[in-house]
Amino acid sequence: MPRHMPHVDVVIVGMGWTGAIAARELADTGLRIVGLERGPYRDTIPNFAVPNTMDELRWSVRGEMFQNLSRETVTFRNHLKQTALPMRRLGAFLPGEGLGGAGVHWNGQHWRFLPTDFQMRSHNEARYGKKAIDPELTIQDWGVTYDELEPYYDKFEYVCGTSGQAGNLKGAIREGGNPFEGPRSREYPCPPLKQSYGPRQFAETARGMGYKPFPQPASNMSQDSYTNPDGVQMGPCTYCGFCERFGCYNWSKASPFNTVLPIALKNPNFELRCDSHVTRVELTPDRKSARGVTYVDAAGQALFQPADLVLLCAFQFHNVRLMLASGIGPGYDPRTAKGTVGKNFTYQTIAYTYPFFANKRMNGYAGAGAMGMTLDEFNGDNFDHGPHGFIGGGYILAQTTGARPIQQSTLPDGSPSWGSGWKRALHDWYDRSFTIQAHGGSTAHRANYIDLDPTYRDAFGVPLARITFDFPQNDLKMRQFLVDKSVEIAKAMRPDHLKVSLPPVPFSIVPYQTTHIVGGAIMGVDRNTSAVTTHLQSWDVPNVFVHGASAFPQNAGYNPTNTLAALSYRSIEAIKSKYLQNPGTLI
């Protein structure tokens, strides 16, 4: 029998971006709030101070700040006929653990989705006809529009001091920005980052080919300083090249530490409990209301935290697993396509092209997570898909996030794999290339989903989440299209070598691709086809709200953070303005 803790109004499960945003936004309500974080307490100082944060082996290779798989992982298979096996070592994606969550080791790539991304089904059907969409694809509209989300996108960009250049200011297309983006209500809070040699050359070549390259929106601070609307300060990015997979030493990359957490933690009604691992949301016998959550503390004690309102703000598959393990909503069954929780697990479709220049140093170690020059001509529905036989798309990004020697030393194809020849190749080709990344969306497929594994359990005895996923044919066609475009531009730069690197098909859990795994607790306007409302409220248990990328019905061709944050702001605003006065399902 778990020990009962004193009752609170709100319990937040997970203190990454969405949990920290929720704690910040609820601070002025006077509600008693507890935030439960499964990982340790940490902060910029002392945990990510220089020089120890610039340690490739510790953070990036050994993954000290990522999820500790010895306690919990996921199981994985490509299709229903396979037996899923545990992801024993980290690979394709890198969930975070500890205060700030994956918001500490992200890159700061701060994108808005396109207006048409939110009408993925209705827009594509209207433009290309129902027959143009593979019947196995279970893509859906989001139930919100870009215009509804714009104020929240804007808010999060100003909270993070995002750098960039508007391409569409209130409908007016502006030179130097992304001409395809939805209208924004004001400029970015900060000007674009500096760009390094490779991406500058890429942009010049692309411009010559008629494209409109623009600086990638970046929550890496481009100015000497910035104070956000809450009075929290950021420091200048010094292009140290230890951004993705690392904590930022200089308060330059926006993370919960230098944006929303300082405000949340000042609230005397907010209590943060780290090393507190939630195992279950406890429901009333009719399963229509949550009573609170059970969690295990650092000493291994089980505790029950009663609460009127439960916000699930854990990483994508943890949210889905907690819902399934707790009986919140009907689990999805791929054979019948009925049920909602676990449905539409999607990813991101990535490919890399590397142009090499024998006599040029890229100085790629002078990198930042989100610096780079981007083309959006082939993203979403920014081009006519008529002749191509697929829907969706992605951006093409020339970037230098760093040149960390163990993991970012890219050698030309045919280089010896070890020995003196390898050493010579490393000497000759290190830092002579940069990355052109095709960053494609991911369409939902009937057979890609999450449920509970029948065999494997975590250290607390809870079944692991089982991911069943492979790339839909639609997305592989899209990937090849994006690679062809990337190669065309790279060739026009006249490199000495050109290397193309495609993640394996079928999808493999082994090579890192991206941490943008989404879906499984998807939002929508129909309780038969979505797990949560457009306010992220469970259709079945209305005092549970489920935040994060788990709400995406499918993935767009952009990085997810800005969109999942915008959805959280919108949800919390609805909780404050409507739900607290009259608890029940918000429509």
Partner: protein, 253 residues
């Protein structure tokens, strides 16, 4: 200490001195270490030391073994040193893996969290799975080294009549290639997985921060002109293809 007539003298003696001590390796050359061992033990007990490999008689003490390694056994140190020397050799471009301290690095890693697979999911049941499902071995990295090195020496003795360490460089390269291609059975461990683990760790020891006892003198970073932990690199962003020269800095340096 094993001497190999096929090896050039310099290579054999370098291997010898590294086995003689992990921590002090860079400061001394081979002759010094051997002389030091001889003077520290021999004069006091002229008859007490038994030859290597022989059980001591009453009144005798065993030969003093290599010092300074936490996890690796003496034969493992010999094999790993020989392997690392072929995987990243010393040449006109600079020091190789052995000179950079990779053997000590790997010893420390195997004796710590990495060797114990402390952050991997290691609960059964175990199945081979499809390649897309990734690593499904029930062994920790430390166990893979232990099993793999024993099995490799047995294989080499069976095929060549010599341990790996006693083969000439060309034969060692041929064995490494077979390992890489997964063509040697290592007591049930895939030799490709074994090779990839060793290769990954050798590269790590060559290029990780020297705080982990490898990359001595920042040799790996100097080969690349990698600036290490210099955090302020803003001025390098503006360059147009020319190299940004800056002395590397390591953690604690």
């Amino acid at each position: 200490m094993t001497r190999d007539p096929d090896h050039p003298a310099g290579r054999a003696s370098r291997r010898g001195f590294l086995i003689g001590g992990a921590a002090s390796a860079l400061a001394l050359d081979a002759g010094t270490v051997e002389a030091q061992q001889a003077t520290s033990v021999a004069p006091q007990r002229p008859d007490a030391v038994v030859p290597p490999g022989c059980p001591p008689q009453p009144g005798q003490v065993p030969t003093r073994g290599p010092q300074g390694y936490r996890f690796l056994t003496n034969p493992e140190v010999e094999t790993l040193t020989a392997m690392a020397d072929r995987l990243i050799p010393a040449d006109d471009l600079g020091p190789g893996a052995v000179e950079a301290g990779v053997v000590t690095f790997i010893d420390r890693e195997l004796g710590g969290q990495f060797g114990a697979a402390a952050r991997w999911y290691m609960a059964g049941p175990w199945a081979e799975g499809a390649p897309s499902q990734g690593w499904q071995l029930a062994l920790t990295p430390a166990q893979i080294y232990r099993i793999g090195f024993l099995a490799l020496d047995r294989w080499c003795l069976g095929v060549n009549g010599k341990r790996f360490v006693d083969l000439g460089p060309a034969d060692q390269d041929a064995v490494l290639t077979l390992l890489e291609q997964g063509k040697i059975d290592l007591d049930g461990v895939s030799s490709a997985a074994f090779f990839q683990l060793v290769w990954q760790n050798v590269v790590e020891g060559y290029l990780a921060d020297p705080v982990y006892d490898g990359n001595r003198g920042m040799a790996g970073w100097r080969l690349l002109n990698f600036p290490g932990t210099n955090p302020a690199l803003t001025e390098a962003v503006a360059l147009n293809g020319e190299v940004y020269r800056i002395d590397p800095v390591s953690i604690g340096a």
